[in-house]
Symmetry: D4
Subunit: 217 residues, 8 copies
C-alpha cells in the first residue's frame, strides 16, 4: 500500500510507530491504526488529528479515544499506568495558550507508561506563580517546559533544577514571534546549561524524550 | 564641510548632537568634537570610538576623556552630577560579557545628568543573584536591562516592577544567537507588558531614553 | 483551573493582569474577566478579542464594553478620567490602515487613567500634514507613533521632540514589508536617539509603557 | 583571455562596459582598462578598486585617476563636462558615513556627462537641515538619496518633489541594520510613490540610472 | 475624519493622492474618492480594491470604472490620452501569471497621461519570444519588466536597451520563490547597470516612476 | 492573446511547453491545452491543476485525464510507454505525505516516455525499510528522492549509488521545517557528492531532469 | 567585582558554574577560575578559551590543563573517573571537521564523572562506517551526535536506538549551510522521535545534558 | 586515527573519497591523501586547499599538483584523458569573478575522466556574448552554468538546450546578493524546467554530477 509501516520499531525502540495525522486522509489513518493495533500489544497513537478525522476513525474503531486539546487519537491496549509512581515527569506551560502543546507532551508520556504531572500558566511575567510550584519542580525526575513568545520560562526552570529539562517552543504570539521562532531561538541560547530543545509545537517529541529518560535506571 | 552639525539639537532636545564614531576618521571626530564643544556648554560625547582614534583626539583636546569599556570619548563641560539624587536609573547586565553595552548606557545617562547605579552578572540561570538586588530594583526610577543569548532577564525584571523597563539585546552569544537576534526577538515578545526595546548593542539609545524618562515630572 | 490568574499583579504593577484574547475560548475569557472584576476595583480589559467572542461575554457581563476598532473588551470599574489633564499622551498614525493599532494604544492608556489625544494619517509622504500638528507634538508628554511600511514617521517625530517617543511598527503593507518587519527594523535603527520600540502591532504594550512614563513625577 | 569584454556595450548603451574591481587581480584590471581605453573614446572606469590595486594600474596607465572616497579608478578620455548645465542631478546623503556611496553615485554620473550637485549629512533626525536645501531639491532634475540605518530620508524626499528619486540603501549601521537590509526594506516600502531602489551600497547603479533619465528629452 | 487627505499632493507632484484600498472599508474608499474627485480635476484612482468594494463604490459613484485584472478603481476626469504619442512606455511580463501586476503598471501610467504598450509572456525560458519584440523594445522610452520566479527577464532586457528599465518582482512562484523574494533579490543584483527596482507586486509604483521619467524633457 | 505559447519548445527541447496551472483560469488552461494538442503530436500536460479546473477542461476535452494525487492534467497523444524498459527511473519518498510530489515526478517522467518505478515511505527513521529496496536502487538508472522535514533520505541514497540522484525537498513538516526550507538546505548541503537539488515541491522539474538524463546514450 | 560568581550552583545542580571564555579577558578568566577552585572541591572548567589565554592562566595556575582540540581549560580537583563504568556515553561525529565540537562534549561529560567513548567520521555518505559501530551504539546509555552540513546522522542514529539521542549541529560547511543553520533545522525536524537538539557548536551543553541523563537511576 | 577513510567508496561510486580541505590541518590532508593514493589506482583529489597547505603536502608528495585558481590539490594516478572525446561537458561562467568555481567544476570533471570545455564571462548583460557560443552549447552533452549576483544565465541556457543543465550559484556580488543566496534562489526558481541546482560555490559537486551523467549510456 501507500505506507510501509515500521512494525519493527516496537522491537527497536520499545513503542510502535506513531502516526503523524497531518498529511493523511482519514482512511489512511484508520488503515494504519488498525494494522498497528493488530501487530502490537502496546498503545497505538496518532498525533495532529482533526476532530473530523477522529470521528471517522472512532466509528470504525470504537476502542479509539480522542483527546480534543492535544488532538491525539489513541487506543489504549496496555494499561498506561506508570510502572513507577515515584519517577514523575512534570509538564509546565508559560501561558494558557500553550496548553495544547503541553497536553500533547503529557498524554504522549502517559501512553508510554509514565507518571505525569502538569502545571499551567506559570510564565515569568509573574514569577511568584512559578515559585509556588517549587516543590513539584524539585521532586520531578524530568521537566518539560512549553512556552511561546520569548520562551524565558525554560531558562528560569533550567537554572532551578539539576534534572533534565526539555524545552518546547510554541507558536503562541504575534508579530516578531514569527510563529515560534523567537521562543525557539531563546531556548537554543538558554544560559542554563544542557537544556534539550525540540521543534516548534513538538509536544509529542518532548513526551517521547522525557519517557526515554524517565525509564533509565 | 563633510558634516552638517545639528547645533540646533541642544535647543530642541536638551543635549548636543552625539557623534557616532564608527564610520568617521579620527580627523573628522576631532573636528566635530571641537565644533560642538565650542558651540555648546553641555557635555560633548562620541560613541563607538576605538582606542586608537581616542588617543589621537585626546592629543589635540586634552580635556577629552576616554572610557575603554564603553568606548565613549567625552568632554565634561558641565558637572555631570545629577540634579536629583533620589531619582536613580538602574542598569543591569545578564552576564559579564554584556558589561560594555551596559556601561555605554550608564555613562550616557550620567553625562546627561542622571544618578546611575549598576549591577552586573545577574542573569536568570542563577535567579537568586537577581533577587539579591530586589531592593535596588524596587527603588529605581527607570531600569535598563542588557542581555545577550536568550535575553530572558528583561521579562523577569519587567514582571517585578511598575517602573519603565528598557531592554537592550546584546550580540553576546554564538550559533543560533545570530549576533543578538535571539535576544532582540525575545525582548520584543516580552510577556511583561510595556517593555521598551532598543537596537542590538544600543546602550547609548537606552541611556538617552532613560534620561528623558528620568527627568519627567 | 486552566489559568493561574496573577491577582498579585495589581499590587506589583498598579493595574490588574490584562487578558490576551487570541488563544482563548470565549468561555475562558468570560471566566477570567469575571474573576478579575471581582478581585479588583480597577478597570479590567482583554485584547485581541473577536466581535463574536465579545458578544458572548457581554451577554453574561452587561457591564463589558467592546471597542470594534481596537478589538479591546473592557469593564470600566474605576472612572478612566485622567488625574492630571495637563499631562497628555499623543498617539500618531502614519496612515489610515494603522488606526486599529493606534486605537489599541490609546484605549489602553485611557483605561489606565491617562489623558490621550490622537492624530491619524500624518505619514511622511506629505510631511506638511505632520507639521500642521506641531503644537500638539510640542505640548505632549509622551508620544506614540504607529506606522507600517517603511516606518519613517518614528524617526521624524523622534527628531522633533525632547519627550519620550514610543514606536509601534504595524503589519500594514505588502511584499517586502514582510508583515511589519520592514517597519520594525526601521524603528530599531532610528537615527533619532532613544526611541522605544515595541513588537509589531503591539499597541497595547505602547499604551502600557506610555502610561508608566506619564505617571512619573 | 579570461574576460570577454563587451566592446559592443558602448553602441548599445552609450557608455563602455564598467569594470567591477572586486573579484579581479590588479593585472586583470589593468588589462581590461587598457583594452577598453583603446577601443573606446569615452571615459573608462572601474568600481570597487582598492588603493593598492589603483596604485599598480596608475603606474602603468598614468592617465588613470583614483578617487579614494568612492574607490573609483577612471580615465577621462572625453571631457566629462555636462552638455546641459541646467539639467542637474542632486545627490543627498543622510549621514557622514554614507558619503562614499554618495560619491560613487556622483562621480559615475559626472563621468557619464552630467552636472551633479551634492549635499551631505541631511538626515531626518534634524529635518531642518534638509529643508535648508529645499531650493536645490526643487531645481534638481533627478535626485539620488543615500541612507543607511532606517533609510527614512528617501521617503521624506520622495514626498517633496515630482522628479524621479533614486534611493540607495547603505550598509551604514549596526545590530538590526543587518548591513543595509533595514534601509533596503524601508526604501522598497517607501510610502512616497515611484521611488526607484538600488542594491545596498550600489551608488554606481544609481549614477547610471540618474544619467539615463537625465539625458531624456 | 479618519483620513487627512493630502489635497496638496497634486500641486506638489502633479497628480492627486492615490488611495491604497487594502486596509480600508468600502465606506472609507467611497468617502476619500468623492473628496478627491471634488477637489481635483485630474483622474482619481484607488489600487488593491476588491470586486466587492468596487461594486459598492460604483453604486454611489457611477462614473467610477473598475478594472478587474489590475484591481484598480478609477474616475477618468481628464482625458487619459497621452500628450505625446511618440514617447511610449513598454510594459513586459515574463509569464501569464504576472499580467495583473503588469496591468496595474500600465493602467497607472495611462491614467497619468502616458502612451503605454504591453507585451506579455515573453520570459527567458523561450528567449526567442522576447527577441521577436526587439523593435518595440528599441523604440520604447521607458520599459517596465514584471517577472516572478527567478526574475531573469529584467537582466536580459536591461542589457538590450539604453533607456531606463524599471523592474517589478512579482509574487508568482512557489517554494523557494518565497512570495517574490527570489525575483526581488535577482533584480536588485541585476548585472545590467542602473535597473530601478520596486517592491514585490508594486506595479503601481512602476507606473508612477515610468510616468515621471516619461514626461521629462 | 494573453499567452505567447512557446510552440518552438518541442523542437528545442523534445517536449511541448508544460502549462503551469496555478495562476491561470480554467478557461486559459483549456485554451492553451487545446492549442498545444493541435500543434504537437506529443503528450500535453498541465501541472498544479485543481480538481475543479480539471473537471471543466475534461468536459471540453474528453481525452484529457486527471491524476488527483499529482494534480496533473494530461492528454496522452503519444504512447507513453518507454522506448527502453531496461533504463528505469526510481522515485523514492521518505514519508506518506511526500507522495503527491513523488507522483508528480513519476507521472511527468512517464509522460515523457520513461519507465518509472516508485517506492514510498522508506525514510531514515526506520532505515531497514530503505535497505529492503537495495536491489531496485542498484538497478535504477536515475533516482529521484522526495523528502520533507530533515530531508536526510537524499544523503543516504546519494551515498549508496553511483547513478545520478535528484533530490526534491517537500513542504511536509511543521514549525522549523519552514514549509520545506529545512529539507531544501539539507539537500543543498548533502555530504554525498553531486546530488542535484530542485525547488521545494518541484516534482515536475525532477521528472523532466530525470527524463533528460535517462535518454542519454 | 565584575562578576557575581554563582557559587550556589554546585549545590543546586551538582557542578560548579562553568566559565564561558569568549567575551572575557585572560585576567577575568584567571580570577574566576581561582575563586571557583577555592570554593569548590569539584572539577573547574572554562570553555571557548584561546590557546593564548590558556597559557596565561596556566602560568598562574599550574594545575590547569588545556585541551587544544576542544579549547577547554580545566582543573581536575576530583578524579574524573566515572562512578559506573557500565553506563557509557557515546559521542559520534559525522566528519573529521566536527571533532572539536565532539571533543568539547566528550571532555565536559568526562569532567562531570562519566565514562565516555568516541567514534568519529561516521557520516551517512558512507553509511557502512556507522553500521560498523552498531555494537557500541547499542550498548551506549546516551548518544551524542555532532554533525554539520545536512546533519543527517542524527536522524539515522535516532532511528537505530531506544536510548536518548542528543544532536549538536556544527558550523561545518559552506554556502547554504549558513554556519550551521542547515544542520540545526535538519535536527529540529528529525523524523526519529524525541531527539534533543542543542545550539550550533554547543558541545558543552550536550555533555552537560548527557551527564544529567546518565546519572539518573 | 581521526578519520575513517571510506576506501569502499571507489567500489560503490567509481571514484575514491575526495578530501574536503577546509577544516583539516595540513598534516591531516597529507595523511589521508597518502592513504588514498596507496589504496586506489584512481586519481586522488582534495578541494578547498590553501596554497600554504598545498605547498606542505607537495613537499612530501612530489606527484601532487596544485591548481591555484580552483584550489584543488590532486595526484593524477590514472590518465585523466576522456574515454570518449565526443561526449563533452561545457562549463560556462557569467562573469570573470565566477571563474574559480567554474574551474573547480571543470577540473573535477576532467580528473574523473571527462572531456571538458570552458567558456567564461558570457553573462546576460551582454547576451550576444552567449549567443556567440551557441554551437558549443548545442554540441555539449552536459552543461554547467556558474553565476553569482542574479544568476540569470542558468535560465537562459536552460531554455536553449535539451541537455541536462547544472546550475552553480556563486558568492560573487555584494549587498543583497547575500553571499550567493540571490543566485541560489534564482536558480531554484528557474523557469526553464529541470535545471539541477548545487550549493553555493559548489563547483566540485557540479563536476561530479556532470561526470555521472556524461558516462551514462
Ligand atoms: N551608538 C549610537 N547608536 C545609535 N545612534 C547613535 C550612536 N551614537 C550617535 N548616534 C546618533 O547618530 C547621529 C549622528 O550620525 P552621523 O551624522 O553619522 O554622525 C546622532 O543623531 C546621534 O543621535
Ligand atoms: N495584545 C497583547 N500583546 C502583548 N501582550 C499582551 C497583550 N494582551 C495581554 N498581554 C499580556 O499577556 C499576559 C497574559 O497572557 P496569558 O496568560 O496567555 O493570558 C499578560 O501578562 C498581559 O500582560
Ligand atoms: N559597483 C558595481 N555594482 C554593480 N555592478 C557593477 C559595478 N561595477 C561594474 N558593474 C557591472 O558589472 C559588469 C562587469 O562584470 P564582470 O564581467 O565581472 O567584470 C558590468 O556589466 C557592469 O555594468
Ligand atoms: N510545476 C511546475 N514547476 C515549475 N515550472 C513549471 C511547472 N509546470 C510548468 N512549469 C514551467 O512553467 C512554464 C510555463 O509558465 P507560464 O508561461 O506561466 O505558463 C513552462 O516553461 C514550464 O516549463
Ligand atoms: Mg496567564
Ligand atoms: Mg556570569
Ligand atoms: Mg493617507
Ligand atoms: Mg551627522
Ligand atoms: Mg508562458
Ligand atoms: Mg511512514
Ligand atoms: Mg570523512
Ligand atoms: Mg565581464
Amino acid at each position: 500500500g501507500f505506507a510501509q509501516i515500521d512494525h519493527h520499531r516496537e522491537l527497536r525502540q520499545g513503542f510502535p510507530e506513531v502516526i503523524y495525522g497531518e498529511g493523511k486522509t482519514k482512511e489512511q489513518i484508520l488503515a494504519i491504526m488498525k494494522s498497528l493495533a493488530e501487530e502490537s500489544r502496546h498503545n497505538v497513537m496518532a498525533t495532529h488529528v482533526s476532530a473530523e478525522k477522529a470521528d471517522f476513525v472512532r466509528n470504525e474503531l470504537p476502542d479509539a479515544v480522542y483527546d480534543e486539546v492535544s488532538r491525539i487519537l489513541y487506543i489504549e491496549q496496555k494499561r498506561s499506568e506508570p510502572v513507577d509512581e515515584t519517577r514523575r515527569i512534570l509538564v509546565l506551560s508559560a501561558g494558557t495558550s500553550d496548553i495544547p502543546v503541553a497536553e500533547e507532551a503529557a498524554l504522549t508520556a502517559r501512553l508510554m507508561g509514565n507518571a505525569v504531572d502538569t502545571c499551567f500558566d506559570v510564565g515569568v511575567a509573574g514569577i511568584h506563580r512559578l515559585f509556588a510550584h517549587k516543590e513539584e519542580i524539585v521532586k520531578a525526575n524530568v521537566i518539560i517546559v512549553t512556552a511561546g513568545m520569548e520562551g524565558a520560562l525554560a531558562s528560569v526552570v533550567g537554572g532551578l533544577t539539576d534534572k533534565p529539562v526539555i524545552a518546547v517552543p510554541t507558536s503562541v504570539g504575534y508579530g516578531a514571534s514569527f510563529h515560534g521562532v523567537s521562543a525557539l531561538l531563546a531556548m537554543l541560547n538558554c544560559c542554563a546549561a544542557g537544556v534539550a530543545v525540540m521543534n516548534i509545537d513538538n509536544g509529542f517529541g518532548a513526551g517521547v524524550l522525557a519517557g526515554k529518560i524517565n525509564r533509565m535506571r
